[in-house]
Amino acid sequence: MSVRVADAARRPAHRHERPFLAAARARWLGFLLIALALVIVVAPFVWILQSSFKTQIAILSGAWIFTPTLDNYADVLLSRRSDFVHGLLTSVLVATASTAIVLVVATLAAYSLHRMRWSRVVVAAFLTWMLAFHVIPVITLVGPWYLAFKALGLYDTRMALVLTHVTINLPMAVWLMLSFFKSLPPEIEEAALVDGCHPLSAFWKVTLPLVRPGLIATGVLSFIFSWNEFTIALNLTSQANATVPVIVSKFSNDYEVLHAQMAAASILATLPALLLMFVGQRFIIAGLTLGSVK
């Protein structure tokens, strides 16, 4: 590397002739590309949002100018043939319950792996299996789950969704909590233990409050991933316990595609994630990038 750099220094530097202009041009190019990226990310959302306020006829005729209507939202939310509100209830219950369970189970497990002096073999076996499960396509396990839940009488129940959502989110949650525990200086807890704190109260009163950002990141991400989950919900439930994504998919896969309602339902399905995102953005970014950079 040093040879190359020295080479460059010897060459006449045309590119540095007018550094001011070059810098200005680079800046413009940067802004242009970023503006382009923004348009590409945002435009599809704008398109589906405006479609959701159109009548089916306005959509089909490809009109750009139209009188906005709320009929699609009314149809999705209020009409009798729509299960959307029921699905909303199912999704809220399943996402909330699975997130609560994931948080408890993952936090305890991560803490145990981190602090409880398990032998290396145990820790490695646990983490390897977790990683392996995380990369297996979930559809491969839906088959055996289907058989097992049918045998237990849990097929097409919210319980089945809660259990499976807990399972698929557990690897991410344990991984995140483990990274947050590792980022704490061990002295704090050791001091508590020396002062006569019992292991349980050291964990509860000293460590847990310190990893609150981690709990929030894990909770927000678990909730969103459970809310968005489609493959399992599609195959382990029927109409009675369909979640929001399954209902959204029904609008498009019926014989006749109900474009306007599909647009409105998609917007409604997206809102919770967007709301959570704006509330917990800082934590989400920490969660999504943690562990990958270290």
């Binding site: 088959g143 968005n228 399905a269």
Partner: protein, 301 residues
């Protein structure tokens, strides 16, 4: 012994056994809902399973599922579509994500806004992304064909033609996941040591030399991780394809995950589906093992 100082009864017992009961729920969940199903997959893969009402009847037919594998007409296109999907989508995502991360890293303001916008596609339900693009790809009134019409071109059948459907699906995956690569690489770009870059500049390296010999080597661990994540997750792609094309027309955009879904839940071939699942799991785990070596290599080297 501290026994005289410790609380008695339930609390004392909880304290004494904290180590075990803190790990037990996770182990139990994994055992029941992942280890057992995977073992069951092996048993299913040598069986034929039929339903009478709600009861399942198993018979041991090891040859049958392998025969089904070799006579499956759409398996080869599912495999090759998946390979094309993963290779093309991941390559483009890595290049665009890296370019974007480097560009945004050079910005003096607006970084926060950029990051906020880029998390949106990752968190939106994939099903909503599928419907979004289904509307935009529509042959008669979708925005792409309207724009083509404005410049006087014929409408294109984005999802309905056998030669284009897979590429349209790949384009959606790229739209969905470039932001993820960006987020990971941008975090790494922000963490680059400024002194090293300054030293390179002082030594007279131009921008390309700086990128090639300083920045990229420093970013290599993050690049490898992003690449590994994306390659493995691309194998799982299901939701958007299910919504956009359902694997069609014919099998032109059928991916392995979609094929598995069909075998399991449309053709009700649980045994053959299990065999395919076992093979998929073995394949993915081999990929993972190779990837881990790669990551270890970039970290040590």
């Amino acid at each position: 012994m501290n026994a005289h100082r410790g609380p008695r009864g339930v609390v004392g017992w909880l304290n004494a056994t904290f180590r075990y009961w803190s790990l037990a729920p996770a182990v139990l969940l994994f055992a029941v809902l992942t280890v057992y199903p995977v073992l069951n997959l092996f048993r299913m893969s040598v069986s034929t399973i039929q339903f009478k009402g709600n009861t399942d009847f198993w018979s041991f037919t090891p040859r049958r599922n392998w025969d089904a594998l070799f006579s499956d007409p759409s398996l080869s296109s599912a495999v090759s579509n998946t390979l094309i999907f993963v290779a093309v989508a991941v390559t483009v995502e890595m290049l665009l994500g890296l370019a974007l991360a480097l560009l945004v890293g050079r910005m003096t303001r607006g970084k926060g806004l950029m990051r906020t916008l880029m998390i949106v596609p990752i968190l939106v339900p994939p099903v909503a992304i599928g419907s979004m693009f289904k509307l935009m790809y529509n042959h008669d009134f979708g925005v792409f064909n309207q724009l083509l019409g404005l410049i006087g071109l014929e409408p294109v059948s984005w999802l309905g033609s056998t030669s284009l459907a897979l590429w349209s699906v790949i384009a959606v995956d790229i739209w969905h996941w470039v932001p993820f690569v960006f987020l990971i690489l941008f975090a790494a770009v922000e963490g680059l040591p400024g002194e090293v870059l300054d030293a390179g500049r002082v030594d007279g390296a131009d921008r390309w030399q700086l990128l090639r010999y300083v920045t990229l080597p420093l970013l290599l661990p993050a690049i490898t991780v992003a690449l590994l994540f994306r390659s493995i997750l691309a194998f799982k792609a299901f939701d958007e394809v299910y919504l956009l094309t359902g694997g069609g027309p014919g099998t032109s955009s059928e991916l392995l995950s979609l094929h598995l879904y069909r075998v399991f839940f449309e053709q009700n071939q649980l045994g053959y589906g299990a065999l395919l699942s076992v093979l998929t799991i073995v394949g993915v785990l081999m990929l993972l093992a190779m990837g881990r070596r790669l990551v270890a290599g970039t970290r040590n080297g």
